[in-house]
């Protein structure tokens, strides 16, 4: 707005802009920023994630002013926020559910990228930065969940930090170092609070790099083809600002409904019991957004040994940890595993099916993660984990070679002109074939 040359105050704006061209920069990167004209609503989730990040930081900031990071005070200080601080219940429920919604939005954002090949050249670094953001989010969310110091906080922290004990030789020392003691205790709570406060700002920094990389080549689009000329692009403002605003409205309705009517739906009731180091909850589960990874962690219930010798190379515990971190590492390697030159799944008839199987596989993993680690659930998780790795390591590389993609349209604008219809028609057209 400020960059509007005719606006009052433009003299001041020009004066500043001459010395620090921030208005020119803003105008260039948001107003004029040329964007493919055919982005569907699936492209809303990037900006939405940014807004949820802002909501989380804003609520987190005021909550931190009332929270006491001490094991004797933490639980009560959260309850004091819920009861005595003006509007504290609202801020806390927004923050608590905001974490879940952040992951919903980001997971959709990731799956959109997976379907439309947004990780392919020249956007590999953009994708890698996204994976880094996901990792940072996971760390932040995990440590944030510890802060209320309820039963799930304590025991979730205990289980997850104990993962590091799987590291050969130095594992035990590392775990004690993480704890700052011999169990998850006050020093652990203190450092988790510090990192939970710090990491979101690191995320902000990486988000800016993510945006920078995005603006280098601009957004991918549902057709997955590069823009052939200016007729394929429109300025970001006002077209996508208003579309994002509308999407934000829809999101906020859903978010407000959950915060207002079912704020504890996605939480775990055990976390309303103060942490007790003497009693373990019967069934420890992480928050829902970690369940697929948790399932993969528990799927490895066997040692890996050299055949016929009985020499164990990788113990089950370490195997589970490697598989869990490997599942995210595969995401980072994706641009080099899927070498198909066609980006959009819309023109990849076989890939499309495997995409949906993969999505289903993730849901199955999540469900397995929510169930007790026994019997059929372990087997199901093992099969689903195997499929997850096969998808990345075998199916995608093979499809790159074997699949025959459908013919690509000549340009983004072409279907519009040919169809004579609306923009939405352009987006819908190839789908009818699907």
């Amino acid at each position: 707005m400020a960059s509007n040359g005719t606006a009052p105050g433009s003299k001041l704006v020009k004066w500043i802009d001459h010395r620090l061209p921030i208005f020119t920069f803003m105008r260039h990167e948001t107003h004029e920023y040329p964007t493919p004209r055919n982005l569907s609503y699936w492209w809303n989730f990037g900006s939405l994630a940014g807004i949820v990040l802002v909501i989380m930081i804003a609520t987190g900031l005021v909550l931190a002013m009332q929270y006491a990071p001490h094991k004797d005070l933490a639980f009560d200080s959260v309850e004091r926020i819920m009861r005595d601080v003006n509007g504290g219940w609202l801020l806390r429920y927004i923050h608590m559910n905001g974490a879940s919604f952040f992951f919903i939005v980001v997971y959709i954002h990731i799956f959109r990228g997976l379907y439309y090949g947004s990780y392919k050249p020249p956007r590999e670094i953009l994708w890698l930065l996204g994976v880094l953001i996901l990792l940072l989010m996971m760390g932040t969310a995990f440590m944030g969940y510890v802060l209320p110091w309820g039963q799930m906080s304590l025991w979730g922290a205990t289980v997850i930090t104990n993962l590091f004990s799987a590291i050969p030789l130095v594992g035990e020392s590392i775990v004690e170092w993480l704890w700052g003691g011999f169990s998850v205790d006050n020093p652990t709570l203190n450092r988790f609070f510090v990192f939970h406060f710090l990491l979101p700002f690191v995320i902000v920094a990486v988000v800016f790099l993510h945006l920078w990389a995005l603006h280098r080549f601009g957004s991918n689009n549902p057709l997955g083809i590069d823009a052939k000329g200016p007729q394929d692009k429109i300025p970001f403002h006002p077209y996508y600002t208003v579309k994002d605003a509308f999407g934000l409205g829809v999101f906020l309705i859903v978010f407000a409904a959950v915060v207002s009517f079912a704020p504890n739906f996605m939480g775990h009731p055990d976390n309303y019991i103060p942490a007790n180091p003497l009693v373990t909850p019967p069934h420890i589960v992480p928050e829902w957004y970690f369940l697929p990874f948790y399932a993969m962690l528990r799927a490895v219930d066997f040692d890996i040994a050299i055949p016929f010798t009985g020499i164990v190379i990788i113990e089950a515990k370490l195997g589970g940890v490697l598989v869990m971190f490997g599942s995210i590492a595969l995401l980072a390697l994706l641009p080099w595993l899927d070498r198909s030159p066609v980006r959009s799944g819309r023109f990849r008839p076989v890939f499309k099916w495997f995409f949906w199987v993969f999505a289903l596989d993730c849901v199955i993993l999540g469900y397995c993660g929510s169930q007790p680690a026994e019997g059929g659930w372990i087997v199901a998780a093992q099969i689903a984990t195997l499929w997850y790795f096969l998808h990345f390591l075998a199916i995608l590389p093979l499809l790159s070679i074997l699949e025959r993609p459908k013919p690509l349209p000549a340009s983004i604008g072409e279907p519009v002109l040919k169809g004579g219809g609306t923009l939405a028609g352009a987006a819908a057209k190839p789908m009818e074939k699907a």
Binding site: A58, R80, D84, V85, L91, L423
Partner: protein, 198 residues
């Protein structure tokens, strides 16, 4: 979507223009209202919380405070000096009433009396309770003079050791850098020897 544009002519454009402006204005106004409504809980969360508000008024039982004794109670994080003054102290304070003080204020105006219909008011004419906030009005130090043996300054009230402010038996500033008298907190009598501060 495209139907409205089929005409393509100028008049259509203009008609659409006013309706469009109205839409934009409404959207902008609602955005502003919504943002303000969202910002408010953040600001309000920094106001004193309900547990702090609940302690914003305290009841004090004055009955165990003998004449010439002083007690200190905490109110809103600050000390409240309550002194049971004797006749001599009251007279000294009243005799000093005059406009040349740094912050002129008659002693009677600094005392909340028990309601006149309670028998106490008449029964104890020789003493009264002085209730002041025990924070020096200069730079916020706590004056001395509450405990026996502490210096009470040149005027028999309180003495602030930080920068040498002297307060009299009515808690009024008489000498030193403090600009104002010790503040009288809002209080009233619930019963004959029971006050509610705040």
């Amino acid at each position: 979507m495209s139907k409205a544009l089929q005409g393509g002519g100028q008049p259509v454009e203009e008609q659409g223009g006013t309706r469009r402006d109205f839409l934009y204005l409404t959207a902008g106004a609602m955005g502003a209202i919504g943002t303000a409504a969202v910002v408010w809980p953040f600001i309000d969360s920094l106001n004193p919380a309900q547990d702090a508000v609940a302690l914003a008024s305290v009841e004090v039982d004055l009955s165990p405070v003998e004449v010439n004794q002083a007690i200190t109670v905490m109110w809103r994080g600050k000390p409240i000096f309550i002194r049971h003054r004797d006749r001599a102290e009251i007279e000294a304070a009243e005799a000093a009433d005059n406009d040349s003080m740094p912050d002129p204020e008659p002693d009677r105006q600094r005392i909340v009396q028990p309601p006149p219909n309670t028998p106490v008011a008449a029964a104890t004419p020789d003493s009264d309770f002085l209730v002041v906030v025990g924070v020096c009005t200069h730079l916020g130090c706590i004056p001395l003079g509450q405990k026996p043996g502490q210096p009470r300054g040149d005027y028999g009230g309180w003495f602030c050791p930080c920068h040498g402010s002297h307060y009299d038996t009515s808690g009024r500033i008489r000498k030193g850098p403090a600009p104002k008298n010790l503040a009288v907190p809002p209080y009233n009598y619930l019963e004959e020897k029971q006050i509610l501060i705040g």
